[in-house]
Amino acid sequence: MELIKLTIDKKPVEVEKGTTILQAARKIGIDIPTLCYFSLGDMKIENKPGGCRVCVVEVEGRRNLAPACATECAPGMVVRTNTIKVLNARRTVVELILSDHPFDCLVCAKSGNCELQDLAHRLGIREISYQGAQSHYRKDTSPAIIRDVDKCVMCRRCEMMCNKVQSVGALSAINRGFEAVVAPAFEMDLEKSVCTYCGQCVAVCPTGALTEVDHTRQLIAALADPTKTVVVQTAPAVRAALGEEFGMQPGTLVTGKMAAALRELGFDYVFDTDFAADLTIMEEGTELLGRLSKHLAGDKDVRLPILTSCCPGWVNFFEHNFPELSDVPSTARSPQQMFGAIAKTYFAGKIGVDRKDLVVVSIMPCLAKKYEAQRPEFATNGNPDVDFSVSTRELAALIKEANIDFNTLAEEDFDNPLGESTGAAVIFGTTGGVIEAAVRTAYEVHTGKKLEKVDFAELRGLDGIRQATIDFNGLPINIGIAHGLGNARQLLNDVRDGKSQFHAIEIMACPGGCIGGGGQPLHHGNSAILKARQAAIYREDSCKPIRKSHENPYITTLYEEFLGKPLSEKAHHLLHTHYFDKSTQIEIE
């Protein structure tokens, strides 16, 4: 490894060859501001177009200023990050960006969490010396994501996420010069494009150009309506991240405080999506074992691997890109939708409320869940199983608006019967968790033996594609895991080409899984936050008295009282689904 010595602001620093000035400066505590640059370094996610020029620095002997993010350190380099030339240039750059940016910070969804606003504040910009044309585009609202590209600064982070990381290809920079903007093909509506609503573009957008569709007003109205019974379900990844919005350390578990806050907000029943995650394992696990035993018995009609189907971004992805594989994923609905279906039948019956008067709300780390809740197949006579889905960020905003001091709340429990869950359900919130939960149950059901060690370290981690073989009492089960849709595409290509050796594959659309979902508190490129959330999820699992889904007593009761057994006709009707071909077909005229 070749080491390079240089000085930055008169401080000597030694770095590996290939290190950029920006990285070297950060190493010695010099915080050069950036805008377009974005990195989740150890997850191999980086945006480095060198386009915004906010990070320019002076390099001795170089004629012009150098972008620190895209300039590699060289031996003996003398770098200055705060000369008057640099400060003036940086200021001019930001003023020019602001000159083509709407001044509606007061009412912008990103206000207080906007990197451009922070930059203007940090540079002490109090007036814009430049006035000229401003570019205007129509606002594009889809079921989950709003594009307001008047606020786009062409950092192209969203384009990088959508193409390089997710391989979705919904967004691209189009046109040139002043007209340039990031948009779907032919500037079509996002809803008509190949967008999966994974929300990773929203998660990395520095400004308010990409935001989620806000459902909090509808939620407040439902809570205030005396004729409605409002129940809430919270996804596993929310409890591991919500605290960040209230100044808590990343990785702080706020399960009890969250339940208390939801009760204070006025929900009649505070339930847990984790309950439905346990239910998912019963259905998906049974389906896995069924397909596996038929396959082992030589039935050529049974396709393996089985793919998890909890993630709506992923479901959208294969409907667009791999419709020919639509019999490969499990038919099990996602936990959000299983919860909705059970709440509006079993639970509504128990409390004697008509489904029309029962409002089911989900708190999700996800934006695709907003779309999933609106899919017509998840409604009965026009009444959706899940009325609407709000993100972790929206819940935090709602708690603040309702004057609830989240930090001092005493912890409370979920209500029953749909609030009880196991450790297996909690880990649905991270990559590797769904398949580990499935293994815990499938092992015991298949072998008839008790699983002594429920932790499967070999399934955990943050590598984009992982694989492990689990010994089912002499039967080796090959498991694949992918998070990030680009990684998923690689595994799917193998399945399509008949090269996949896996019996089961878990896929989550977002890097890190739901902990890194598009609806989570913004991580601003700090991968330590994702790791802390993941650790919190496994911590919650290890503290649970019951850690296998099939041992959840309320799940047992649900089957006894209502569903019969996994994959029963009623279970099929309420808990399973089918998929659609959303691909583009070329037809000959």
């Binding site: 691209s172 583009t584 070329i586 037809e587």
Partner: protein, 159 residues
């Protein structure tokens, strides 16, 4: 499910072109050049096929098509008119000639007349500066065009 319709012979030609470039996504610009030769322009349908054949996203293809002014999504007229705006032609009054074409055809640069007969484009130097200002209609070159000669040129094709 979005359905894209294209005539079979041209579609097959396009697929052959993609194959001749080994379906390499890096050959996108070359493929689009050939595609525009085949179809005369690059409608959304053609871009969908190119994206599929080169295993890239249609948003990316559209990004490239919308970036380069050479590529067009508007079908060219039966008789595409190009007015040279190179330095020599420009100083000898090409702009006035262009205005005259716009006036007669009632279209702007980059547009096609409603009957599909003529389309209007500007180009940079055809290497016939001695004949400035130069106008091309299809493959035919007209030299030393004056604004009052525009009508006569158009009449040649109006039969």
């Amino acid at each position: 499910m979005a359905i894209v319709k294209l005539p079979e012979n041209k579609l097959n030609q396009l697929i052959e072109v993609c194959k001749s470039f080994n379906n390499e996504p890096g050959e996108l610009i070359n493929v689009l050049h050939k595609a525009q030769e085949i179809f005369g322009y690059l409608p959304a349908e053609v871009q969908e096929v190119v994206a599929k054949e080169l295993n890239t996203s249609v948003a990316h293809v559209y990004g490239v098509v919308s970036f380069y002014s050479f590529f067009t999504m508007t079908p060219k007229g039966e008789h595409p008119i190009s007015i040279c705006m190179g330095t020599a032609c420009y100083v000898r009054g090409a702009e006035k000639v262009l205005d005259e074409f716009k006036h007669h055809l009632k279209i702007q640069v980059g547009e096609t007349t409603a009957d599909g007969k003529f389309s209007l484009a500007c180009l940079r130097c055809v290497g016939a500066c001695g004949l400035a200002p130069v106008v091309m209609v299809g493959e035919k070159v007209y030299g030393r065009v004056a604004p009052d000669g525009v009508k006569a040129i158009l009449e040649e094709y109006s039969a």
